[in-house]
Symmetry: C2
Subunit: 193 residues, 2 copies
């Protein structure tokens, strides 16, 4: 990527969001996004295959960072603490993107096709997380379950943090982990057989 590429990428993303929200997602073209960002349409397509992917661009970087954090977690950690450690290691990505994420979520929420795409992308994150756990020696079935429970817990933490950022995301993550523990501990063996 050329020098300054991340800046162009970010400008395209914000231009797209503004146009999507002002004129509607369907009505906005890649050429309009490029013009608003002050670049050519050809430059737009150097960064994104289509206007839809402008909204999902950060997902690949997040997925890679999460898998890397799992790989680098101390091997002494329990499975649950490995997830906790990895989420704390990548939380900064959410913090840096907070300004982009909220308007992005509003655009996605208003288009079923975008929602479906977002959910499909979330599946890729979960599958990548599971694969990283398997690399650490976690049996596949347990890794898949842990990845799903972990991502549900992280999503919850991010949602509560969007609703209330008077405490930092890391605290919301810790709180969500405790909530899940308390939830799952509230079953009795008698009822569960």
């Amino acid at each position: 990527m050329p020098k300054g590429g991340d800046d162009v990428r970010r400008r395209l993303q914000f231009a797209a969001l503004k146009l999507f929200r002002k004129h509607g997602y369907e009505e906005t073209t890649a050429a309009q996004i490029a013009a608003k960002a002050g670049v050519t349409e050809r430059t737009f397509f150097r960064y994104f295959p289509d206007k839809r992917e402008v909204l999902f661009d950060g997902d690949v970087a997040f997925t890679e960072a999460l898998a890397s954090a799992v790989r680098q977690a101390p091997s002494s950690l329990s499975l649950w603490n490995t997830l906790f450690h990895a989420f704390q290691a990548v939380k900064q990505i959410f913090v840096e993107n907070r300004g982009f994420t909220l308007p992005r979520q509003r655009v996605i929420a208003s288009h079923p096709a975008l929602q479906e795409r977002a959910v499909a992308k979330a599946r890729v994150v979960t599958a990548t997380l599971a694969a990283a756990l398997i690399e650490r020696g976690v049996p596949p079935s347990q890794a898949n379950l842990a990845a799903q429970i972990g991502m549900a817990t992280l999503s919850h933490a991010v949602a509560t943090w969007f609703a209330d950022d008077s405490v930092e995301l890391g605290v919301h993550i810790a709180k969500a982990f405790h909530e899940v523990r308390d939830l799952a501990a509230s079953g009795t063996d008698r009822a569960n057989t």
Copy 2:
């Protein structure tokens, strides 16, 4: 629905699955599905809005059964046991559809658009489950988290049951609930702060 409607519906579903798998999803038309099931194309459209929905027909009934099971769960149950109780109450739906579900999953897995649709439908189930918990007095944030964790746990149980039905689904559900409890209990407060 006319008498025998469920039989026609089921015949259309199996006819569609056979054609999807033999000729491909894209290449199969509603008219071909109707012909294979021995009904007119018009009859097809009395049951399904399009060929895609043939694959997702059971989801509405499942969602309603699950919400109803939550409403009918004894009020003395903890949140986790309410989920457990509700899943045990609806598990028969998975058992009855086992023959349909596996080929259906194969068709869905081979088409990204169908996968995205399946995931979107799963979100509706989770949201409906959360709403049913909220009706029982569970605070919304806790209900959403519990619904997500619960559905992830149920999905895991159904997947392990598809891989091994030497024990019944109810046992797989109980096992998955215990796995999640053990997973979430394996964190230490020191690591989680």
